[in-house]
């Protein structure tokens, strides 16, 4: 019985276990490589760099579980933060401005949701369009200006710490949100519907699941949460410019997928996604401590993403349907040759300019 339970636990939480293992390995390597890693001040300060991404991955998980995607979150974030900044600069109370920006973010989410759910347009295409549209609106609002001078009670959102501790207040927001999203995804009807839609949208509809309404809801949720993340980011910066959070969507999607959420929808857990966030955070922080350049860090994260998706499929294939054919030998040899030639050319040709 207990082995069976263990087996069940393993099949259900395999991905999460692997992520924990990876986190331990990375933390260990970091601690060995740098004396500054295992330092509570440093770790806490580092968390604030990942809070906005962390908040954004929560609704993104919902959306990808249903088999859709939202490329526009970073732009919605910018739109909300810019609108808030714009209103604040025109003399509004900061909380009132934030409230209005929140309302606008609801509209932004509604537009995404309605186009996807009602007009049945592909999510990728719609949010690619709004990615550009919402970001453009942010530019239209603030132009070359920066909104600044936010009152301290607002900047506390992004810069403040809880009481006399060094724990960032925003971390608390993230933890509360993550718990809420996790409970909704795994313990409620709404969460169950998300998985059902992700696996088979039509069958869910036939079973009386209000598919359209749910899709619209999660896109609105995504935009509202993006607005919240925008406020926190603006508070952390103490200012807003329209390019705020540019390109965040790629990191968010990367972490979500790394967390075991299938890009085709229908599977994945929020625990896994949060673990992936922690993994990426300490990996990036560790690489920063080892003074790896930004682009090199991107290469590492990109490889991690590919390998994490590639390995399970490869293992699965080798276990089941794999049979050796002589053809494969020649193919892999050819591939290896091309790779070696390419690498040689890569280094040789750069040396022509750099070492002359």
């Amino acid at each position: 019985m207990s082995t069976k339970r263990l087996h069940n636990f393993w099949t259900k939480w395999r991905w999460e276990c692997l992520l924990v293992l990876l986190i331990v390995v990375v933390a260990f390597v970091n601690a060995r490589a740098s004396n500054y890693f295992l330092n509570s001040t440093n770790l806490l300060r580092m968390t604030s760099d990942f809070i906005e991404i962390g908040i954004l991955i929560l609704p993104m998980t919902f959306i990808i579980v249903t088999g859709n995607i939202d490329l526009s979150i970073a732009s919605t974030l910018a739109l909300s933060a810019s609108l808030m900044g714009y209103l604040f600069m025109s003399g509004w109370n900061i909380w009132l401005a934030a409230g209005v920006a929140l309302l606008v973010s609801i509209c932004a989410g509604l537009l995404n949701g309605v186009l996807i759910a009602r007009l049945k347009l592909p999510a990728l295409v719609v949010t690619l369009g709004t990615l550009s549209f919402y970001r453009g609106l942010a530019y239209a609002l603030l132009g070359d200006q920066a909104a600044r001078g936010y009152p301290p009670e607002f900047t506390y959102l992004g810069q403040g710490t809880i009481g006399s501790t060094r724990i960032p207040f925003a971390l608390l927001i993230f933890i509360v949100l993550a718990l809420a999203f996790g409970l909704v995804l795994h313990k409620t009807r709404f969460g169950r519907y998300l998985y059902a839609i992700g696996n088979n949208k039509d069958a869910s509809r036939y079973a009386g699941v209000p598919v359209d309404r749910i899709l619209i809801t999660i896109y609105v949720l995504s935009s509202v949460v993006a607005a919240l993340a925008g406020f926190i980011l603006a508070a952390r910066f103490g200012s807003t410019r329209p390019d705020i959070g540019l390109g965040l969507e790629l990191s968010v999607i990367t972490i979500t997928v790394l967390g075991g959420v299938s890009i085709f929808g229908g599977s994945g857990t929020l625990v896994g996604v949060v673990l992936a966030l922690i993994l990426v955070a300490i990996l990036r922080f560790g690489m920063g401590l080892m003074n790896l350049q930004g682009q090199v860090q991107d290469i590492v994260i990109g490889m991690l993403l590919i390998v994490s998706i590639l390995l399970p499929t490869l293992i699965e294939r080798f276990r089941h349907t794999w049979h050796w054919q002589p053809r494969m030998l020649w193919q892999s040899l050819a591939a290896l040759l091309v790779l070696v030639l390419f690498i040689s050319f890569f280094f040789w040709s750069r040396s022509l300019i750099l070492f002359r």
Binding site: V125, S132, F133, T313, V338, L352, I353
Partner: protein, 338 residues
Amino acid sequence: MVTETRAIDAPHRGLVQTFVRFREIGLIAFIVVLAFFVTLRNPVFLTFNNLRDIVLNISILVIVALAQAMVIITRGIDLSVGSTIGLSAMMVSFMIAAMPELSPWLMLPLGMLIGAILGSFNGTLIALGRVPPIIATLGTLSIYRGLIFLYSGTKSTINAYEMPPAFRQIAKGAPLGIPNLILFAVAVAVIVFLFLRYTRVGRDIYTVGSNPDAARFAGIPLQRTLFLVYLISGLLCGLAGVLWASRFESAQNNTALGFELQTVAAAVVGGVSTLGGSGRVIGVVLGAFLLGVINNALTLIQISPFWQQAAQGLLILLAVIVDATISGRLQRMIGGRS
């Protein structure tokens, strides 16, 4: 024999069907209307020089958007195109800067080879490794971009003065009266058209995208076709990289950064369905042209630069919505099965 009666009578149906088959008409109409209003605001729009500039500006986009379209037809996506262009441009520029005595035309096959290798890496991951295209190319987007940075090292930019004039002539020359860049785009469009229409491999691309399961049963080499599509995508990006370096007379770390979004937009606006199986060369060319016109028009009609991105996003969104609702409605009218 078994023939179903349908909701629409024959002549009406024929007309609708023609429209569905040539949905590019809608795109052309959109462009014409746009052009009309822009010309009203600023007659410069319809001058020869301005139109030539538009066509020049979209030439590289056309090449890469066609590559992107082929990938999307197979239900995939290639997000790494911008990085592939950048790496090809950088490596080629290094070569030509290091060996200015080489024939610059040699750079074309070199760039294409580099692109093809990068593309085949994507293809291996996707066809052999079964990694979802969006994930694989999202990964290689960062990896290839990082490689550009690693490659260029302390040099980071190849400037105009380091490139022999002959190399710059690859894109800029106009021995036939028409700028080479446009000729390249036209040639690629024609070749891709012929390839997709008149070769079995080209037809396989549609087959695989239209119904992958059935394709396997029909004996279509699914993996090989996918691999090939990404290889071709890389190859065209490699070519685009050479043209880019030649046209902009420089290679930088951020060359073609974010270009993938434009190529996807051009393909999708051009009527390539992200659900796979359909899309035409002429549509993609028109899609790219529409993007070029929008860009140009926004500048010409004095829209504040701060509003330009919003207007661009909105117009793309509109084009997609209009296309989807109209073609969806027509599709239903002729009683198509979902």
